[in-house]
Symmetry: C2
Subunit: 147 residues, 2 copies
Amino acid sequence: MGNAQVADGDSARAWPALVRAYQDVRRDAEAALRRHGLKSLEEYDALLELRRAVRPLSLSELEAETLLRQYQTSRLVDRLEARGLVERTVAPADGRSRLVTLTKAGRLTQKAAGRAYAEVLDNRFAERLAGDELAMLRRLLLRVGAD
Amino acid sequence: MGNAQVADGDSARAWPALVRAYQDVRRDAEAALRRHGLKSLEEYDALLELRRAVRPLSLSELEAETLLRQYQTSRLVDRLEARGLVERTVAPADGRSRLVTLTKAGRLTQKAAGRAYAEVLDNRFAERLAGDELAMLRRLLLRVGAD
DNA sequence: TGAATTTAGATGCATTTGCATATAAATATG
DNA sequence: CATATTTATATGCAAATGCATCTAAATTCA
């Protein structure tokens, strides 16, 4: 949406800046992830959740962690599976459920991509804002989102 | 990407909050725009630029204003045209260029959608943050984006 | 227990994206 | 002036998205 400008009540001059920041960070982050074979932040997030989990996650658990829609999760896992980054197995306890686990390649990719991602964020946040500014930014953003 | 969490250096705890805020505002805004027949923020932005412009804009001018890609602009205009919100005419001065103008319906849609959009932003920003907080948020976000 | 309901995922279909390339008009060059 | 190049926009095609719906397994409950 580019400028994301609205009618012009200046009540919300922060919104275009938010859009801009989001897009710029996201662009950098996705470029970094692409260099490691991932196609989107969503893919990375799924890999990260899988790595963090103590036990294999079902698709619906993964869905809950990532805030993706049901069908998005299903297809995201399709793609990760096709590239050999995860595996899907029928849950022993519930025949409807599929458990998703990272493969070796998936773990390696997550690790490498994670480092690149963290670098981008450092670049965009830590190197540009002081600690108290970061905290303030976060607090303000949390008030804008949520509900 | 849901949580948008990264490896865990806390240098960038602001990023998940940024993602969250962006997604929440955008979701509300698009819901409001849909009620007025628009499918995305991008569509609204294009209508707004066209309304603001003193003269008809070519596709490439519109592209520059909105930060869309060339093919995105072309197809966005396709869709707006199909719904009777804009018209495309060959530029008199340059036979390659198409000038895009709002139709009557396009103007009405822009106006109504704009009000709804502004309401959402007021809701998300002005009603939640004080004036100096808004200004601060904006300043911080501008430093994160850009470059 | 057997039929109805709910839950977990998958998928058909239409739309949208992205990339690369095509078309066509304008401009530059020899 | 004729050809090559650049500029403005459109488009074919493959992948991705969204919606609604489907299948199959589990659970409810009469």
